[in-house]
Symmetry: C3
């Protein structure tokens, strides 16, 4: 009754498929390491049922509603809330029916693959979503969600997750993470230190955020040294709850490595709100290097995600706010941008800096050559729009010959769509096994090596790189 084929994503050639399948059979069921993502820690802390099918699977997924919008649908009709409170559709069943009618738009996209996999594997549905079966599928999913077996902790266990990281602001009190620990539940949910709000002078409320950082950390963030100390203390507080990583979303990959006096003067101008745009950018750049230095000190893995132009559409931002599918990748240069950071800590194996990109032209030209020589540098997996079968294939084809496999860090699902996590890891495992199978059948790799690598790519590298 399966509609997702067991050979999903494996190439047609029988000999490549056979090898890919053998590799996958050995690693497809490994526990999930999810070292970077955006699920809500409250889910695991409170363990309340998830809402209706549409609110869970459609409304919060910007991959879904951006495609619907691109074909002339209104976001309001899919329940996306407006900033000014203008009413939007709240009836989950109607949203689900509308979605079913437009599901054909997703042909060829990873969204389609993730949802098919989830409907079949998680909700036990026997056929793909159509306008005709939409109501029945909605009922079935709603029934599931109401049951104990579909509560967050049960799903965590069912998904065979070994560890999952959330993303948490530097000012977050980490109450949910404490509650999870206190509950005695055996799930391993870890915070990740995301300090954008106290690192980026252009962030809303930056000055107040720094005041608050001082209070939370018990230091004086009115001085450069006190401010750095506050970061160190917050990092320690995150580590105390299991964190092993930090995460940094910046418009560019620019880094700087100012002398202490100069950095201190820059901080004073930024702190006083008197910094020019160029100085604010320089401060962000300097802070990446500071965070990299702290990575070498405390062992937390630093992740840099540059290159997205946020909120591209002014009218859509005004009506719906952030994260509505209007973050668009831009050309990103790494070679000169990362040089100051790499001069500071790049040759220190104690530091770990994982770099992601939305600009695939940098894979072979810049990132693989850099990661293939600097011990502190690792390549994050194909990310965001490139977290897809073709995107992952291009990543391996473009990076492996120069950086090898061992300067990459396995897969990140990077998602807030909890039910889709197994689907996403499954796609990554299938793509990697296919890539390895091609190398094997072309006699570029022995089969025993491919088995070892398949295990590393699916599990071992993420665990090792993120120290989990």
């Amino acid at each position: 009754m399966a509609f997702v084929d067991p050979n999903y994503l494996f190439p047609a050639d029988p000999s490549v498929r056979t090898v890919a399948r053998e590799l996958y059979d050995a690693v497809g069921g490994l526990p999930i390491i999810s070292p970077h993502g955006h699920t809500d820690p409250r889910w695991y802390a409170e363990n309340a049922p998830f809402p209706d099918p549409a609110q869970l699977l459609i409304v919060p997924d910007h991959y879904i509603f951006r495609m619907l919008f691109s074909q002339g649908h209104r976001l309001e009709d899919f329940g996306v809330p407006t900033l000014d409170g203008t009413p939007v559709e709240t009836d989950g069943r109607r949203i689900w029916r509308r979605f079913a009618k437009s599901y054909y738009l997703f042909r060829g996209t990873p969204t389609r693959a993730w949802l098919d996999y989830t409907l079949q594997t998680l909700f036990g549905l026997a056929e793909p979503l159509t306008p005709d079966n939409a109501d029945g599928q909605y009922d079935r999913i709603a029934e599931c969600l109401a049951s104990e077996a579909f509560r967050p902790r049960a799903l965590y266990e069912r998904f065979n997750i070994e560890a999952i990281a959330t993303t948490d602001g530097a000012l977050d009190d980490l109450g949910s993470h404490e509650a999870i620990r206190a509950s005695g539940w055996r799930g391993r949910v870890l915070p990740t230190y995301r300090p954008d709000a106290v690192v980026d002078p252009d962030f809303e409320g930056f000055a107040e955020n720094l005041d608050r950082l001082g209070e939370v950390a018990g230091t004086d963030t009115g001085t450069w040294s006190g401010y750095l100390e506050a970061h160190r203390r917050r990092r320690a507080a995150f580590r105390a709850l299991g964190a092993t990583a930090t995460d940094h979303g910046h418009p560019t990959a620019d880094t700087a490595n100012l002398g202490a006096a100069e950095a201190s003067r820059l901080f004073d101008r930024v702190r006083a709100g008197r910094a020019e745009p160029g100085e604010r950018a320089l401060f962000r750049a300097q802070m990446l290097t500071e965070m990299a230095r702290m990575s070498a000190e405390d062992g937390m893995v630093m992740q840099i995600h540059p290159g997205s132009l946020r909120n591209h559409s002014a009218p859509m931002f005004a009506r719906f706010g952030r994260d509505k599918g209007f973050d668009i990748p831009t050309r990103t240069d790494y070679v000169r941008a990362l040089q100051p950071l790499l001069d500071a800590v790049g040759t220190d194996p104690a530091a770990t800096v994982v770099v992601f990109t939305l600009d695939e032209t940098s894979y072979a030209r810049e990132l693989a050559p850099l990661a293939g020589v600097y011990p502190a540098l690792r390549l994050g997996p194909a990310w965001w729009f490139h977290d897809s079968p073709e995107g992952m294939r291009r990543f391996r084809e473009a990076t492996t010959e120069t950086a090898g496999f061992y300067n990459t860090v396995g897969f990140n699902d990077d998602t807030r769509a909890f039910p889709s996590i197994p689907a996403r890891h499954d796609v990554a495992r299938r793509v990697d096994c296919t890539f390895l199978a091609r190398l094997v059948t072309e006699h570029r790799l022995r089969e025993d090596e491919a088995h070892e690598l398949a295990h590393d790519l699916a599990y071992g590298l993420a665990k090792k790189a993120y120290r989990l």
Copy 2:
């Protein structure tokens, strides 16, 4: 006796080939929709015989003579006219013989594929062109061209063209288009509004062109509002003869969205010939947004073709003039460049803006993410140097996962080489069927979906996007 194999372009793997072939068998014979191209409307109006084989197939084809030139041949020997009237070869047979000797240079190029297909399918030749059979092939083609069955209208019908657009300047009197309509012939030949000469202040004779635009449109193009009204009227005149689209060749994708007063002041400086280079570029940018706004008003599909550096070689331009194979693609950024236009009309489903690129790095990074969210935006097919099997494959691989299939607009042949039109559409259909077959055999798409998509990519999407 065929030398073009029925399985041309299908992959060797038997299961992928079988699916690709089934898909192609169902759509290979569909009528041709040619919504963007450069055939001469006089051909259809006058229905006169085409000239000799070389003048038809070699002399006007810059893909052909640029390759010959790159290998040390003189353009003069292939009949390419000089600006100063220095004599060039006029003997079609000698040109054809010379070409036959160098035909091997085109191995691996689409030119070779198009010509082989045309020689076999249109002229009934049983073997590929060689120096030995060049004379015989020349005679056979010349004989064909002299017959009624090879007149333009007969070929239009034989090619199973359902609609074909030409490209016509804003000042064109559209006499040929009127004559076609008046003739009672059932062929559907439509003009396309190409206003570069009255939009680009750097165009030769721009000021006079605007005077003339005022006369033709019956408005005062001395004012910004009169100038915009002139465009509206010319667009209406084009629409009255069937036009559904406009076409815009710009050096970059830059757009602007000035306030009315500022735009009016800019126009005054441009109109008076007093604008600086930056202002002239800004005027071009502003006019793209104005044209997009008019697209939302009158429903004409706007096509933007940026990123070609025209006439790269000064000495060749001096001797031979424009369009001699020296237009070279350059890196082109879209994300910030299109933002003003998209802020103006990007979220309005009434507008349609089709964007083409010569910079493939923008497919996955910029264009697919933009077209995958803005309802007014669609992706034009792989264009120009990328109108080729590998180019089309890269286009689908790079855009589908983010923009889907339905934010693309099918195939454009974009050619003045009338006899090659079926060959070009055939290549596109074969490549798309191959791409779909890969998705089917990798279980990423069901076969029924692939059949629907094959039809859409070959026929339906072009018809719908261009409102034909």
Copy 3:
């Protein structure tokens, strides 16, 4: 007993593999033309034994030690010498053992392929290197290297090299080349004119280099005309020893085409050490055009290698100096950069300019369109990090449709790793045969054409392009 499979690199599909294998069987054994590389001419002149296995195969290979360093190993432990003389590992066997333990890091890289091929084919080893067999393999290789059959001239003959070019500074006395000639040995080892030290004002000791150039050439390099004449004479001296090419490593592809008076004034400022950074860059740009003009005069093939940011890591440069794996590719533009040079000599078939790139985005967008029209321009093969199976495949896929095969120049090994030369040419031949086999099985090329092309790509094009 082979561990490198005879079908290495051929795709799994049986029909493609069969054709690829047939093509390869016909060309795999052709003599090697190596028109660009960095082997030491003293090797052939002195014909002394090579040093121990590690000093030959590991220590000088930056592909190897950069990967080891990237995974936390110290360069010192692999014998890489420090600038200040801090002792490093000198025991070849210990280096070899360490390398064997980390050999798995090279999975999926060309280094692995080259070394496996070399161990099997050259040293007759029956299994891949492992920590367990490291000592035995070391002994076997050391034994080989001590024998007459592994002296440089014997290897040259065993490798079936027909001609090999070295790279020699403009000030080099070419003594080794003279000695080779005088020795009566039949090997064809040719110098290549590499004038960076007397062309780039930022080169260490530039002023003294120019003094010395004047002495060596017997001209007054205090004047622009004397300086150009010195280049002409040195080129002639190189040609007298067989040179057919020049080589130019520049940070960018920028060229300039100043008038004689302006160029002369620029030279004066550069010569006097008073030039600003922009002027020094302009001088480098101007000299590329001068060298291209001399190519048209004397027929030497000009090679341009732009786009590497040298010595990316300041601390590593301070400790170990140049060429330690820290040269990182950067985005490189060619269209406007080459325009002055191409305006000067681009349409002259007497000139030959071979352009290489480290930025693959320029293949389809810029370089193929340029090489597909300018008779003086040819495309160098996939280079450096892209000298790899995937890199070569991307090169053919991206360039062939626009530039054809005949505007490319065959393979360059570009290496100082003498024992790896057959491995490198073998990879290139296999990749090209695979590409051709795909075209054949997709009916894009006839089998007879593919055989002709396989021969040209493996042998003929390099010989013709470099006039060897």
